[in-house]
């Protein structure tokens, strides 16, 4: 695999107001890779993702995407460069229908044709969304909402996807489906930066991983290395 860096965080210090949540973090996502951020609750994984799309207060460090310095870009411009974001907790637009949610996801697309192609693609990944296309998104089940969030983030044709806990609170079967879908998306050339509580699933599909503790990276390595590392096991056995 060629190792062209797509996203690079260099010594990033960020937080909310005066509080720092992300302490001097350096992360790298190469083109075509799936990279996982591991760590227990409240260590700053979500804040790290939100820092990338400029939704925290960044104080130090720089963020580069495709060799463009996006450190001080506003959120909507970062999205325009091809970074998709799926927050945790099924952040659908509950007031819109399923299809309108996908239209909102395609906000940056200029051509109708591209929209059709992406819409068909999402419908083929998650056929249930097609069935529910005219239903108000609020009335979808939890799993369907998660699929909608992932599908919506694919509508802009992103080259990098930031995914926050896609399997949270889903039935095992759905978790499997999401894992399979992520691999499929990745094969089509979308790089992924993933946060996942389900470490087994995460490391199974990832190339590389970072372990976070108290806002810092304490360990990094290939997925194969991390799977056997005691510190990773510790966290997911809850011994911290």
């Amino acid at each position: 695999m060629n190792k062209v860096p797509l996203l690079k965080l260099n010594n990033v210090l960020a937080g909310y107001g005066k509080m720092n949540v992300v302490n001097n973090i350096s992360i790298r996502v190469n083109q075509g890779e799936i990279v996982t951020l591991l760590g227990s609750n409240g260590v700053g994984k979500t804040s790290t993702l939100r820092t990338i799309i400029a939704q925290t207060d960044l104080k130090k460090g720089e963020i580069k995407y495709k060799d463009i310095d996006i450190t001080h870009f506003p959120t909507y411009k970062i999205a325009g460069l091809g970074i998709g974001y799926c927050p945790e907790g099924r952040a659908i637009f509950g007031n819109l229908t399923t299809k309108e949610n996908l239209q909102a996801g395609a906000y940056l697309l200029k051509s109708r044709q591209k929209f059709k192609i992406n819409l068909d693609r999402v419908y083929s990944l998650f056929p249930i969304l097609k069935e529910r296309h005219s239903q108000i998104a609020e009335s979808l089940s939890g799993g369907e909402q998660e699929m909608l969030v992932i599908g919506r983030s694919l509508m802009n044709s992103p080259s990098l996807l930031l995914l926050d806990e896609p399997s949270l609170g889903l039935a095992p079967k759905l978790v499997e489906l999401i894992g399979k879908t992520l691999r499929e998306i990745n094969k089509e050339g979308v790089s992924i930066l993933l946060i996942e509580q389900n470490a087994k699933l995460a490391l199974e599909i990832s190339n590389y991983g970072y372990l976070m503790r108290k806002g810092s990276i304490v360990l990094e390595g290939t997925a194969k290395e991390l799977v056997v590392d005691d510190r990773v096991k510790e966290i997911y056995l809850g011994i911290i």
């Binding site: 909507y76 819109l96 909102a104 906000y107 940056l108």
Partner: protein, 293 residues
């Protein structure tokens, strides 16, 4: 029966004004949580602009409509940029108080510059006169305004339902940060929303002038309260709901006093509040689906 029908038809003029104001009001209410009492003054400025064009300069009515829209849009955008933008994100109460302040400043400045008296509004020739439907009378101007407003509302609802800007507006109303992360430039959408909402107020202003034959500095006060209540009844952020609720309030208000003993006519303003409290108690989210979380 004719009496009832006549009352309803009489309310269509004021109903159209409330519908337009409520539609504009609910758009910014949903989008940035703005309970904008300065909207009444945006409306009033549009009316004064039209008054100058029609009565003072004696220019044609289409120019009056055009300039009323322009006047309202300019004031609406100025208020947004100078008063609301600096405090963006600081919560509903702050926005509400600032809106009240701006409303006072604009209204009293108008009183100082001109005066608080009624300004006669020239009604164009082709809008004078009445049609008869059996025994029921309908003013030409009321019919003209009602049909125009109906057309405007259909276009508006289509725009919000089907276009990119419309979907962006509804997305931002529900979850601003999420909308931004999908590439939506919220500031741009907010400006577009203020332009549309102010333009609606501008047209409502000309309608007011035609229907009541005069405009004055405090005309926005009563109207904006109705618009506010209509936007709550219609479901915050729901334009179609606001329009329907606008007509319901106007027609209901008229019927309320039509069937009340004559010496209780002074209770008219009470109606809108009675409806408001009933809705707040039994269906606080409004009669139609709201566009906010």
């Amino acid at each position: 029966m004719n009496y009832l029908l006549q009352q309803i038809i009489n309310s269509l003029g004021f109903g159209s004004i409330v519908a337009l104001l409520a539609a504009g009001y609910t758009m910014t209410f949903g989008l940035i949580g703005l309970v904008n009492f300065a909207h009444g003054e945006v409306f009033m400025v549009g009316a004064f602009t039209a008054y100058f064009i029609l009565t003072i300069l004696k220019l044609p009515f289409w120019l009056a409509i055009l300039m009323a829209l322009v006047g309202s849009i300019i004031i609406g955008l100025l208020v947004e940029r100078l008063a609301f933008k600096p405090v963006r994100g600081s919560g509903m109460i702050t926005l509400f108080i600032i809106g009240l302040g701006v409303s006072q400043i604009l209204r009293n400045s108008t009183v100082m510059l001109f005066d608080a008296r009624l300004k006669g509004f020239t009604v164009s020739g082709f809008l004078k006169g009445v049609y008869m439907l059996g025994e029921v009378i309908i003013f030409k101007k009321t019919l003209f305004i009602f049909l125009t407003v109906l057309a405007i509302c259909i276009i508006l609802v289509y725009l919000i339902k089907n276009t990119k800007v419309g979907i962006a507006m509804r997305s931002i109303s529900y979850d601003t940060q999420m909308a931004q992360s999908l590439g939506m430039n919220t500031e741009r959408v907010i400006i577009i929303t203020f332009i549309i909402s102010s333009a609606l107020a501008g047209f409502a202003a000309v309608s007011w002038g035609y229907i009541y034959g005069s405009v004055h500095a405090a005309m926005g006060v009563h109207a904006v309260v109705n618009a506010f209540v209509a936007s709550v009844i219609g479901g915050v952020g729901n334009v179609l709901g606001a329009v329907v609720a606008g007509y319901i309030i106007a027609i209901g208000g008229n019927l309320f006093i039509a069937f009340l003993p004559p010496d209780l006519v002074g209770l008219r303003p009470l109606f809108v509040w009675i409806v408001f409290f009933i809705i707040l108690i039994f269906k606080p989210s409004g009669l139609f689906r709201a566009n906010i979380k």
